[in-house]
């Protein structure tokens, strides 16, 4: 009986023995095939570059990092340096852009090409040339760059439209600044605790960041607008009625607000959002009209590194161009409209080293060179006011200088802002047309806005 069962089982399994052996053989053949590289990644054909993934404004194929001299003295020798780097190094790791600069030393003059020379600085190539400023008062040196990268076959013009202009002056108004004066504190204007009710601002804390308001603005009426990204709103304080108004909007801590001459308030989210018609996240502009009715979306801002909103509805982009995201009717402008109608900042700044900086107001025919006994820090503000100019230097303190219309130093003071949440030296300090300087502090308890009145 036992034998019968065994032989029956054997008879039943016997046909599957071939199946099992073939299954095993299949596995072996598979392993041999794989080990011979049959399923490995095929050798790459020559890579091709999809240029549609780039655009000149937000996502350039070749980054050009350059600081214009802004203003030079007649006959002065000055260097122009450019760092060129490919955004498509994932496709062409050995990409090697080269560049020609086209220079004209007179308005409407003929542009002459000059091949830039490659220099090595800290292991990175820098393209440079040396020019001499013409000996003719009021003249400008204009230039632009043509970049070509042979591997990706990419041509880039820098700037993407227009030219870079260097103002040539006969002389600078020289200003010597003494070491920063004793630290003072401005007049306290508004103090708010952390929270989410009508008269508080939101604080976000986790293991990676501490976030709160990243910008504020003041109007000529004394209103104070605060960006409150944590509570997803703009908070508007009216000092006459001592009341707050809340305007719901999604913001990031990177952004700005600025009152305009028509009484409206512009609000920008510099991190941005993805909106209809855009394939990626783009900075956004909003507006609260003078009637303070509601906040409305104006449209995208095509600026790669926006600094702040100006009082004429422009956005300072990468500190060398003004993007105009809104038309005269208050409607958003298209990408092309913003690209083809960029402005230049009316005032120029150029930090030379820790002790020397230059400032220019070409429309007023003014050029100032400031030397300081001790390191000045960087320049966060150069603003034309009703009475002259205000300059703010930032180091571990904030050094404010008031100059008259001829560029003579009238007064200076130093304050030490306190920041518990993130800092932004451009949007947390505001200079009003009458020369007052406002700044925001943040502490463990909340925020406080101070005013330094022009002396």
């Amino acid at each position: 009986m036992k034998l019968t069962f065994s032989s029956q089982l054997k008879n039943r399994l016997l046909p599957w023995r071939d199946f099992a052996l073939c299954l095993l053989a299949g596995v072996v053949i598979g392993v041999v095939t794989i080990s011979n590289g049959f399923f490995a990644q095929p050798a790459h054909a020559a890579p091709t570059l999809d240029l549609s993934r780039f655009d000149d404004e937000m996502n350039p194929a070749i980054y050009v990092d350059h600081l214009s001299p802004v203003v030079v003295k007649e006959g002065e020798t000055f260097d122009l340096e450019f760092v060129l780097s490919c955004a498509y190094i994932d496709i062409f790791p050995d990409c090697s852009p080269n560049a020609t600069i086209l220079v004209a030393d007179a308005p409407n003059g003929k542009f002459t090409p000059i091949q830039l020379k490659e220099d090595n600085q800290s292991g990175s190539p820098v393209w440079k040339t040396t020019l001499v400023a013409p000996m003719k008062k009021g003249q400008t040196v204009e230039y632009y760059l043509e970049v070509f990268e042979p591997q990706g076959k990419v041509n880039v013009r820098y700037p993407s439209s227009g030219t870079i202009q260097v103002n040539v002056v006969e002389t600078f108004t020289e200003v010597l600044v003494s070491p920063s004066p004793e630290i003072t504190t401005g007049e306290l204007v508004l103090q708010l605790p952390w929270g989410n009710n009508e008269s508080s601002v939101g604080l976000f804390e986790d293991e990676t960041m501490i976030a709160g308001p990243g910008a504020f603005a003041t109007s000529t009426k004394g209103e104070i607008a605060l960006q409150d990204p944590v509570n997803r709103r703009v908070l508007l304080y009216n000092p006459e009625s001592d009341t707050f108004q809340s305007f719901p909007v999604h913001l990031s801590d990177a952004g700005d607000l600025e009152f305009q001459t028509d009484g409206s308030l512009l609000v920008a989210n510099f991190f941005g959002e993805k909106t209809d018609g855009e394939e990626s996240i783009v900075p956004q502009l909003y507006r609260i009209k003078a009637d303070r009715g509601a906040i409305e979306r104006v449209g995208p801002i095509f600026a790669r590194i926006p600094f702040y909103i100006t009082k004429d509805a422009s956005i300072l982009n990468r500190d060398d161009s003004l993007v105009k995201p809104m038309n005269a009717q208050g409607k958003g402008r298209s990408r092309d409209e913003q690209k083809n109608d960029r402005g230049k900042p009316p005032l120029g700044i150029r930090w030379l080293d820790d002790n020397r900086s230059r400032f220019s107001d070409p429309n007023a025919g003014l050029a100032i060179e400031i030397s300081s006994v001790s390191p000045s820090g960087f320049i966060s503000h150069f603003v034309k006011t009703n009475d002259g100019y205000v300059i703010v230097f930032r180091s571990d303190v904030m050094h404010v200088l008031w100059l008259d219309r001829e560029g003579k130093l009238m007064n200076d003071t130093t304050v030490k802002p306190e920041l518990y949440t993130e800092w932004n030296p451009y949007t947390l300090v505001k200079v009003t047309p009458n020369g007052d300087v406002w700044y925001m502090n943040s502490t463990l308890d909340g925020i406080a806005i101070y005013k330094i009145t022009q002396p």
């Binding site: 073939c22 053989a25 299949g26 598979g30 976000f204 996240i281 320049i379 932004n424």
Partner: protein, 229 residues
């Protein structure tokens, strides 16, 4: 065709299919998982600071993810990936890849890393603060000094620890300088709750002026450079 031949062909085909599918799934997993070299990177002979700057800029408007090491450079938030997790590098993962560092701790060899593969690297912000085991060096800053009087270059980084920063240990790369003498850096920003208004991330990378802390002027924050630059 008799049943025996059918069984043999079926067995052969199934065996072959099994081995191929097993290979592909193991390969897909290992190539997309953190801390592997499978197609995630390759050794290269050179890498400059300006290349590091273009690389770090590709993280613009991508999410920050603590411990993360991958991003799809489309300036948008991608969907959750079941193998790689949420999109976004953290600070040390971003600098590791941008500096084209080797996975071998302390090595100054160059490695080109695929952005979409989840590779964070062996260094945390504190490791960068401590000199990357020899793969980077301190240029300025100590527990009692800051970098205010030192000129850092594009491709260098600010690194700080919580004791001095106030928030968690953090590293950001410098991309260039402003006309006013400030630095542009790629830093993470608070972005509410989702770039689309309904997403889940609040922290995204952006090239910005200064960054979200006054790195240059904080005692204890260091300016560091990759070796051998």
């Amino acid at each position: 065709m008799n049943n025996r031949i059918v069984r043999m062909i079926t067995g052969l085909a199934l065996g072959f299919l099994f081995s191929i599918l097993t290979y592909q799934s193991v390969r897909a997993y290992t190539c997309l998982t953190q801390e592997t070299d499978c197609n995630a990177g390759s050794s290269i002979s050179s890498w400059t600071a300006s290349q590091a700057v273009s690389y770090v800029r590709t993280a613009q408007r991508e999410p920050y993810q603590l411990g993360g090491g991958w991003w799809n450079p489309n300036q948008d938030q991608d969907a959750y990936d079941p193998i790689k997790g949420y999109e976004g590098p953290d600070c040390s993962g971003l600098v590791f890849k941008s500096w084209a560092m080797s996975y071998s701790t302390g090595s100054t060899a160059y490695w080109s890393w695929n952005k979409t593969h989840d590779v964070h690297g062996p260094y945390q912000a504190t490791s960068f603060y401590g000199g990357c085991s020899g793969a980077c060096r301190t240029l300025c800053g100590s527990s009692t000094t800051n970098c205010s009087s030192y000129t850092l270059s594009a491709g260098d980084a600010f690194v700080g620890v919580k004791q001095y920063l106030g928030f968690d240990n953090h590293i950001v790369m410098i991309t260039s300088r402003t006309a006013g003498g400030d630095y542009y850096v790629v830093d993470s920003n608070y972005n509410g709750y989702g770039a689309d208004g309904g997403g889940s991330y609040y922290n995204g990378w952006k090239e910005t002026t200064s960054g979200r802390a006054d790195y240059k002027n904080i005692n204890g924050v260091k300016g560091i450079r990759r070796n051998p630059w």
